[in-house]
């Protein structure tokens, strides 16, 4: 197996996988069928312990069979994934087709340490549309090492909403690569609530003019949780726009990481790149690490980034309480308001409800 990345690599400076490396994981395990799998009234693909479960799934017509591929990059986790990948979805939306929404569920039930490495491929032909809603949950000690490769052809739009709500003993490492053609759009939002250590690493490449992408995230972490949101946005063509709004709410000893890199190629004139990260620390022992990187080779571009870290505003809290709203509910309202902007790309009603519920449940766990 390819070695796990260590903190000696710049890209892994803030996320230490030593505790993952110390565990020996089984490659498969019989799965328990969970009660109450989410049902959003849209086609649903269910993976249990990393394996596709046909009985629980309602596949759409545009799904094809899994086929293994070689890994071209040198990303350690993608290489490990390629060595172990045995399943994953392959979706191809035909030209000018609005495929509606698709729900992808990963559920783990690990009684002893288990690793699974799904490899998903999503292709939207020119002018196609899809909303992909992903939920990752489970129980036990496990390692979900996902790779998703996305190709969005000219004028196509993919909305990609991810809810990472894994067991707090688990590891969730996702590598998502999106290639975005001219006039195409990739609208992504990740909510990170679960896992002991997690990372969502996005590589979005804007290949043709007038492409756009949102890579937004909300992290809600408590106890000893560690979550890393790493993005690399490559502007390879002119007149493209990228937007990133990352909001972190951290309590206990939780640690959030945001590494955001924007690369603007010489040809990518009139690039509009924006990156904002804001953290709300609910305890003195929570930590947020932020590393923005702008690498710009074109001369006519608009790129900005900003970062703020703060606590709940006592004035706002008192205002709400003075109106009769109990303290816990007041805090929840302010946190929800703080997160609001990150939710901007989420336009699908069922997805909105899903995320609202997840945030409420995070709050009531406190």
């Amino acid at each position: 197996m390819t070695a796990l990345p260590t903190r000696k690599l710049e890209a892994w400076r803030y996320t230490d996988l030593k505790s993952l490396a110390a565990i020996s994981f089984a490659d498969s395990a019989p799965a328990a069928v969970p009660d109450n799998l989410p049902d959003l009234g849209i086609p649903r693909l269910v993976f249990l312990n990393g394996a596709y479960n046909a009985a629980l799934s309602t596949p759409p017509a545009y799904l094809s069979d899994f086929a293994a591929v070689a890994e071209a990059s040198s990303l350690p986790l993608a290489l490990i994934n390629a060595e172990h990948a045995r399943d994953g979805i392959t979706v191809k939306i035909p030209e000018n087709t609005d495929a509606g929404a698709l729900l992808l569920i990963s559920h783990a039930s690990a009684t002893s340490p288990l690793a699974f490495h799904p490899r998903h491929r999503i292709t939207l032909a020119a002018g196609a549309k899809l909303t992909l809603i992903e939920i990752s949950t489970g129980t036990g000690i496990y390692w979900h090492n996902q790779v998703m490769d996305i190709a969005i052809h000219e004028g196509a739009t993919l909305a990609h909403y991810r809810l990472q709500d894994e067991d707090e003993k688990s590891f969730h490492l996702a590598t998502i690569r999106a290639r975005i053609a001219a006039h195409a759009a990739y609208e992504a939002f990740t909510a990170t609530i679960g896992a002991k250590i997690s990372r969502a690493e996005f590589h979005a490449t804007l290949l043709g003019p007038y492409g756009k992408t949102h890579l937004n995230a909300a992290q809600l972490l408590r106890h000893q949780q560690h979550a890393d949101f790493t993005t690399v946005v490559a502007h390879d063509a002119e007149n493209c726009a990228s937007r990133q709004t990352v909001k972190s709410v951290l309590s206990g000893h939780a640690r959030g990481v945001f590494q955001g890199r924007i690369e603007v190629a010489r040809a990518a004139q009139k690039t509009d790149g924006y990156q904002m990260t804001q953290a709300l620390l609910l305890s003195d022992t929570a930590e947020m690490d932020i590393k923005p990187e702008l690498e710009i080779f074109a001369d006519d571009v608009k790129c900005s980034h900003g970062a703020t870290i703060g606590a709940l505003d006592p004035e706002q809290l008192f205002y709400l309480r003075s109106r009769g709203i109990p303290e816990a509910e007041s805090r929840a309202m302010l946190i929800r308001a703080f997160l609001e902007e990150a939710f901007e790309p989420v336009t699908h009603e069922a997805a909105k409800t899903l995320f609202d519920g997840a945030i409420d449940s995070w709050w009531t766990r406190q």
């Binding site: 006592p314 709400l320 003075s322 009769g324 709203i325 509910e329």
Partner: protein, 247 residues
């Protein structure tokens, strides 16, 4: 309704209230006037339960309950409403959602059934109309981008919907033009009934032309130094606060 006995309070080492004694009976409107720095706002914050104020002596009884032992939200449920001098902006919180959450929290605490979104909107729209406020007031984020007058009117809207038994208006008149002043006054006057009292904190007499108080008290250097009828406000307007402490 409200009985303040010998109340002293400080922020850090700074003594602000130095033995305030004041009784507001049911159904009465009292005004508290006084120069800047007299402790007017501190009094309103101590009564509404804001953190950062240390009560060093005295008692406050509200309808027989020990007010100082209650959390801010319990005071609101018991019927206290503070109209803020500087209403707080809440970006990301819709005004309708905010007021409905507050109303339902208070109704829950009072053992009344909660209102659903439809019933609330009906009630809120009627209140808005009565206060001559623009309809979009409910759709916007709480106080975000509101003018000074709109913020104060939003306080009055909340007050109208929460139906307090004691309203404390902390310099609600400051920064208001005459039309907004009338709207605010109408909002308070509409609530006047035997079981409603108000404490109107103000620097100037002009709000009291529209909300005629039963009693006027002068707060200076942390103490009530004079009390009288509405005519006291006119006297202060004419002669200022300069020689009060000697009086």
């Amino acid at each position: 309704m409200l009985e303040i006995q010998n109340l002293s309070a400080r922020i850090g080492d700074k003594e602000i209230l130095r033995g305030v004694t004041l009784t507001v009976p049911d159904g009465e409107v009292h005004a508290i006037m006084g120069p800047n720095g007299a402790g007017k706002s501190t009094l309103s914050y101590v009564l509404s339960g804001r953190e950062g104020y240390e009560v060093t002596a005295g008692t406050v009884t509200f309808n027989g309950q020990d007010l100082l032992a209650m959390e801010p939200e319990q005071r609101a449920a018991a019927g206290i409403f503070l109209a803020f001098q500087y209403p707080v902006e809440l970006p990301g919180v819709g005004n309708a959602n905010f007021i409905r959450t507050a109303l339902n929290a208070v109704r829950r605490a009072r053992g009344e059934p909660e209102l659903d979104a439809v019933a609330f909107l009906k009630l809120a729209r009627a209140a808005i109309k009565n206060l001559s406020m623009p309809d979009d007031m409910l759709k916007r984020n709480v106080n975000v981008g509101f003018s000074g007058g709109e913020k104060k009117r939003n306080e009055v809207l909340q007050m109208a919907l929460l139906q307090p038994s004691l309203a404390i208006l902390d310099e609600t008149d400051s920064g208001l033009d005459i039309d907004a002043l009338k709207i605010v006054a109408d909002g308070v006057n509409a609530l006047r009934k035997p079981k409603f009292s108000a404490l109107i904190i103000t620097h100037y007499q002009r709000l009291l032309d529209h909300i005629v108080p039963d009693r006027v008290h002068v707060l200076a250097a942390g103490k009530i130094v004079r009390s009288g009828g509405p005519e006291l406000a006119l006297e202060l307007e004419a002669h200022g606060y300069a020689n009060l402490e000697a009086a």
